[in-house]
Symmetry: C2
Subunit: 113 residues, 2 copies
DNA sequence: GATACTATTTAGTTTGGCTAACTAGTCAGG
DNA sequence: CCTGACTAGTTAGCCAAACTAAATAGTATC
């Protein structure tokens, strides 16, 4: 499915949510996203986002050698990151309600026919 | 609220949904969106979108003189437009479910603490 | 004739996810 | 030993869509 546009801003929230569950490195996070259905997310999308979030202070990272490949970079949420996540959840809920209201209106219209 | 990024792709769906209720002109549609909470949508956002949708064949339009201002351009959904709307609703529902799944996971985590 | 509201259009900017390419480490098969 | 496959991360440049700001123009009010 092509959901590029819908992802705008939402991907960041999802990344924060998954990292909130515990430290995780980029590649693993990517696979987790795929598992949730966000199959289109590639390294070129995810890594720059992680770098941005770390730069902004929402994430902290540490490098750990891997027994089966290149060094992994584990990310954790900072206090700021948790705040961002909460803010996102609030905003997303409100936004979803707005969209639902618009769609409901047309559903009413449809059922009236 | 700053929801610029979340609106990506969704605005189009909302516009289709509102027009589905019956012919409406741009300015009125803009006010309708404001009424649903999308207060940031300005003419410079909406009109180009309407033009694009008409060009793509999702909307048809006709100009009608207004008794209290410049000529209005009323838009209606074409068959294509209805199809687009249905496709959007399906996609939006699936997307919403995916995001909910990610957020739920972290809620579980939170409540376990 | 100045302000305000209605109604639409256009130019140019910004944001953030996308593709594509590259580097680099480990391991299996031939 | 070399090739390919999987793991792991980085970078440059593209593109779609919403944004700001400004302009045009009609009507009404003061």
């Amino acid at each position: 499915m092509k959901q590029t546009q819908l992802l705008r801003g939402v991907l960041e929230g999802c990344v924060l949510a998954i990292i909130a569950k515990g430290p995780i490195y980029g590649y693993e996070l990517m696979q987790a996203l795929h598992g949730y259905g966000f199959t289109s997310i590639a390294g070129g999308t995810l890594y720059p986002l992680l770098a941005k979030l770390e730069h902004q202070g929402a994430l902290s990272s540490r490098s750990v050698a891997s027994p089966e490949g290149p060094t992994r970079k584990y990310f954790s949420l900072t206090t700021q990151g948790f705040e961002n996540l909460t803010a996102f959840q609030t905003q997303w809920a409100a936004f979803g309600a707005q969209v639902a209201a618009v769609m409901e209106a047309i559903d009413d219209e449809k059922s009236r026919r």
